[in-house]
Every structure is written in structure tokens, then in C-alpha cells.
């Protein structure tokens, strides 16, 4: 298998996904297949091929540094599950970022 159950559980935790044991099995199989395919791609001879940083052959796409109107606070907070007059409210988070 290209990926272990433990690795799947770690990735799920990092992505804040709660998987039950059965789902972990499914993900381990499915992600394993994806990784097997990546392993197949590795067999291609890439000697002398430049690594690419981006799928689109484009560079230097800029906007000028001008301040534009923002959303009203009401609109910005409209989708928040919890809020007060000024801010989003979230469960307190402790510990390091």
C-alpha cells in the first residue's frame, strides 16, 4: 500500500476531517491508488526537463496599488454563524498556530 492508515489519519486531522474507521479504510485504498498512479508517472524520463512552478505559461500578472471600496461590515459578516456588532465570534482557540 502506498499510504498507511496512520498517514491518512494524520492528513485527516490536519484537514480537520472526522473520519470513522470505515472511512479511513476507504480513503487509505483510494488515496493509495492515486499515489500508485503518481508512482507510475515517476517512471517517465524527466532528465533535462525544467521543473515547472505553474500549470499556466504566464508570469507577472499584476494589479496597481490602488485602494478600492470594501464590503460593508453587514455584508462581510452576513454569512457568519456567530457574530456581534463588529466581529466574527468563534470558539476560543488556545495553543500555537
Amino acid at each position: 500500500m502506498a499510504i498507511s492508515r496512520e498517514e491518512v489519519q494524520k492528513v485527516a486531522l490536519l484537514g480537520r476531517l472526522l473520519l470513522d474507521p470505515q472511512e479511513v479504510d476507504i480513503m487509505t485504498t483510494q488515496l493509495g491508488r492515486v499515489l500508485d498512479y503518481m508512482a507510475l508517472l515517476r517512471e517517465v524520463d524527466t532528465e533535462g526537463v525544467q521543473p515547472m512552478a505553474h500549470a499556466v505559461e504566464m508570469a507577472n500578472v499584476f494589479r496597481e496599488d490602488r485602494a478600492e471600496p470594501s464590503l460593508s461590515r453587514e455584508l462581510a459578516l452576513a454569512n457568519a454563524p456567530h457574530r456581534d456588532e463588529e466581529c466574527y465570534r468563534v470558539p476560543a482557540v488556545l495553543g500555537e498556530v
Binding site: 485602494a67 464590503l71 462581510a76 466574527y88
Partner: protein, 496 residues
């Protein structure tokens, strides 16, 4: 160094974030103005709504390039942006757009020196300089007794430059000097105002010590120190942390590389003046960087890099050297003048040039001019007296037409009334005392004070002060030094 006297060397590396001086955010047009009411400077891009696309702010890239060049970095010909993924409520997208393997600048250095000579001039190597977006602000609402945090996303998406040094800093004083030099440099470049109160400059430090033990050198576990809110706090936190690590090593013998020993994060408590370990989550951070598919890479041509280099202007280190070599100023004076910014130095150069005495101009600017700027909270551009006008006043002092204390009064009047030197002199009723007038006055004093004259003859030269005091009462415009000289001469001559 303490009880058992093991020698050690301090290793400090600093990670500095400075906010770039742009009008708008890194990937959207929201304003970056500080102090706006919460959540009034956001849009679908910076609050991470689905389907939106970031577009790079040209000015932010220009400023980052400028800073990287001034820090003597190798400039990436191709630079790109990556997603650094972690969950935190002030990071609405669930990832921060940052730079991972192709930062704008690599392998630079910043030179630091101490005008007080506590450490020799040295280069601190810069590992990398990269451009990234800021997160929002979480406020923990303890007063309300709720378990909630409040989130303000005004700051989310503000352009930051992260400048990471190598662990070349060997003392808390060097750490402070590095930060001061970096701040001055960013200010000269127009890259950032580096205002720590407004969060435009933030510092984290990685610190450990290399102890010489009888069994060979030993390194203590690396500690990252956060929550230092001033340069002074950095200096004190480093001094504390170094001593703490030394004592912990003596107590536990724990060292870097031991099984189960990892880098830990500690918070500086400014009130208690100690560092405290931060509660950390079980999982180790794993940011799973990958290239952001929404942003195109940036390519710099040789011409663009060269023209940005040419446009840097004169930087603080070079300016300080020039003030010492071309203008004969002591290192301390150069440090103070340059520390006040380019316009202050320009004002100095004009004054020095016009009055012909750089040291005199420097003294006046450091004392009288700077005092007024600080009192009124104004800049040199708002100072009511022009460099030409100050130079004329200083020329008059040099030529003996005004004493220093009288000239101070004249300058104060020029500042208060916004008038010319002549008008100020007239308003103060100052008239120049010519040689014959001064001589007549001194002759009178010598004649009328035989007791004092006798004392001076007996070698009590200090007694002459009584004559000078009387002279100033009779004519406030006289130069005390000239009175003293003249009286002494008269006494000596009359005694022969």
C-alpha cells in the same frame, strides 16, 4: 559565566515581519490603513469566499525587491507563491499565501556596528526575504466571561515582508542593533514605517547557547521566543532566555539532538520579565506547502533588477560613513543624525555647507533643533527655521558676533516668531559690542574692583568670574569669554 563558570557562546537568529507601505492589500483593493473600525476593510478575496481569485499588488513586489536588494540578497529570477496550510480562525482561507522554495531574496547580509563600541562591526547573514500575506486579528474577550474569540479581518491580506537572519547574532545588544539597523534601512527605502505599536514590525527570535564543557561543545535545545513588543523587550528577553537555558542545562543536562528534545516556543512576559513555555498542540506543525495555482509566478529580468538597484539611493550605512569621512563628524554624531532620517541629514548637510563648520552644525541640530522637533512632535520639514537661516546664525557665532547662549535665545525667537535672524536679534535688543566699548567696560571694572584684581594677581584666577558677572549686568550683549580675556590682560599689564 556563573557558579560553575562554563563559558558559552550565544546564538540568536531573528525572524522579522515588516508591513509594506502600500495603499491596498496584497491580493485585493481593500485599504491597509491602520485603525479602521473592525471588519470594514474586507472583501470576498481577503475573507476567503469561494471562487474568488487573488491578483498580485505590483507595488508590494517592487518594495519586496527593493528590500531584498538593500539586504544584499541574491534575487530570484523566477519567484512564486505557495500555500501554507493551517487552521486558525483569523486565517479565513485555511491557508496563508507565502513563499516557500523560491523566495524573492536569498543569502544576503546586514552590517551592524555599535557607536559605543560594545561589539566590533560585523555582518549578520540574511537567510531569506520573502513576501506573504498577513492574517487577521483575534481578540480574546475575557471580560465578557465568554469562551469566544472575536475576529477582525481588516488586517487579513496585508502585505508583509519576512526577513530571516542566520543565527549570527552573539548578544542581546547585537540583536537590538540588528533590529534598529533593519528598521532604519526599511524606513530609508520607503518599504515600511516599522511602527511596532501598530504592528508594522514584529519580531520572533530563535535562541540557544553553545556551552564549552570539559567533554567538548554542547548546544542547548533551540527556543523560539515570541510576544516581544519592543526592541528593548527583545534585548531583555534574550538576556533572560540565555541565562535560563544555561541554568537549565546545568540542572538537567538536556541538549539539542537528545531523543525527545524538540524546538519549543516560549512567550516573553514583559511585566514579569520572564519567558514562559507556550501550550502547544499535540500534532507537530505540518504546513503541506504547495504552489498556489491561482497566482502566476513573477519573473525579474536583469534590467529590472539593475534599475531597482540603481534606484535604492544612499543607504544609512553609507551615509554614516560619508558624514565621518567627508564631513569629519565623530561616529556618534553620524549615528544620531542618520538615525533621524534622510530629510534631517539633508538639512544638516545644507547647514554645514553654508556655515562651514560641520561639527558646530551637528551640535546645534542634535541639541536645539532635535529638542524642538521632539517637543512639538514635528518633522524637520515642518521646522520653522530654514537650513540657510540656521547657517547664517551659526556663521555669526563662529565669527564671534554672538555668544552661544545669546544665539540660543535668537534661535528660540526665530522659531517662536518665524522671523529672520536680524529681526530676532533686534527684538531681543541685542547689539554687537565693538572692541573699544568692551575695552572701556573692562577698564572700568578693573578700576572699580581692586579687591578682585588683587585676588587674581595672587593666582585665584576664578575670582575673575565676579568681573564677568558685573559686565553682563552692565551690558547683556557682551561676550563673557571676551570680557574674561580682556580683564585678565588688563590685570597682568597693570601689574607689571
Amino acid at each position: 559565566m556563573s557558579d560553575t563558570g562554563l563559558a558559552y557562546e550565544i546564538w540568536i537568529g531573528l525572524e522579522v515581519h515588516v508591513q509594506l507601505l502600500t495603499e491596498s492589500k496584497l491580493f485585493c483593493g481593500c485599504s491597509t490603513r491602520f485603525g479602521a473600525p473592525p471588519n470594514t476593510q474586507t472583501c470576498p478575496v481577503c475573507i476567503g469566499m469561494p471562487g474568488v481569485l487573488p491578483v498580485m499588488n505590483r507595488r508590494a513586489v517592487e518594495l519586496a525587491l527593493r528590500a531584498a536588494l538593500a539586504l544584499n540578497c541574491q534575487i530570484a529570477r523566477l519567484t512564486k507563491w505557495d500555500r501554507k496550510q493551517y487552521y486558525y480562525p483569523d486565517l479565513p482561507k485555511g491557508y496563508q499565501i507565502s513563499q516557500y522554495d523560491l523566495p524573492i531574496g536569498l543569502d544576503g547580509h546586514l552590517e551592524i556596528e555599535d557607536p559605543k563600541g560594545r561589539f566590533p562591526r560585523k555582518q549578520i547573514r540574511i537567510q531569506r526575504v520573502h513576501l506573504e500575506e498577513d492574517a487577521g486579528k483575534s481578540m480574546h474577550d475575557e471580560k465578557a466571561g465568554l469562551a469566544d474569540s472575536r475576529i477582525d479581518l481588516n488586517r487579513a491580506g496585508t502585505p508583509l515582508l519576512e526577513i530571516v537572519s542566520r543565527p549570527d547574532i552573539r548578544s542581546p545588544e547585537e540583536a537590538k542593533a540588528y533590529l534598529e539597523e533593519l528598521k532604519l534601512l526599511m524606513w530609508y527605502l520607503g518599504v515600511s514605517d516599522c511602527n511596532m505599536q501598530e504592528g508594522s514590525l514584529r519580531v520572533d527570535a530563535n535562541v540557544n547557547i553553545q556551552i564549552s564543557t570539559p567533554d567538548g561543545p554542547v548546544a542547548t535545545p533551540i527556543v523560539e521566543v515570541k510576544n516581544m513588543n519592543s526592541f528593548r523587550a527583545v534585548e531583555r528577553a534574550m538576556a533572560y532566555e540565555v541565562q535560563r537555558q544555561y541554568e537549565e542545562y546545568l540542572r538537567t543536562g538536556r541538549k539539542k539532538g537528545d531523543p525527545g528534545v524538540h524546538k519549543t516556543t516560549w512567550l516573553w512576559d514583559d511585566g514579569a520579565e520572564i519567558t514562559r513555555p507556550m501550550r502547544s498542540k499535540e500534532e507537530s506543525s505540518d504546513y503541506r506547502y504547495f504552489p498556489d495555482p491561482d497566482l502566476a509566478p513573477v519573473v525579474f529580468t536583469e534590467e529590472e533588477i539593475e534599475s531597482a538597484r540603481q534606484a535604492l539611493g544612499e543607504l544609512p550605512a553609507s551615509l554614516r560613513r560619508r558624514l565621518q569621512t567627508d564631513w569629519g563628524l565623530p561616529a556618534y554624531d553620524a549615528e544620531v543624525l542618520v538615525g533621524q532620517g534622510q530629510p534631517f541629514v539633508d538639512y544638516f548637510l545644507q547647514t554645514a555647507q553654508s556655515c562651514g563648520d560641520p561639527k558646530l552644525a551637528s551640535n546645534w541640530m542634535q541639541q536645539d533643533v532635535l529638542r524642538l522637533l521632539n517637543e512639538r512632535g514635528i518633522t524637520i520639514q515642518q521646522y520653522p527655521v530654514s537650513a540657510e537661516e540656521l547657517a547664517r546664525l551659526l556663521s555669526k557665532v563662529r565669527q564671534g558676533g554672538l555668544t552661544t547662549s545669546r544665539a540660543r535665545e535668537v534661535l528660540a525667537r526665530m522659531v517662536a516668531d518665524g522671523c529672520s535672524m536680524e529681526a530676532a536679534i533686534q527684538a531681543l535688543g541685542i547689539t554687537e559690542v565693538d572692541e573699544s566699548e568692551l575695552l572701556a567696560l573692562c577698564e572700568q571694572l578693573v578700576r572699580e574692583n581692586p579687591k578682585t584684581v588683587a585676588e587674581v594677581r595672587q593666582g585665584k584666577l576664578k575670582a575673575i568670574g565676579a568681573l564677568v558677572g558685573q559686565a553682563k549686568k552692565k551690558n547683556p550683549n557682551v561676550d563673557p569669554a571676551r570680557v574674561q580675556q580682556s580683564c585678565l590682560k588688563l590685570i597682568q599689564e597693570s601689574g607689571q
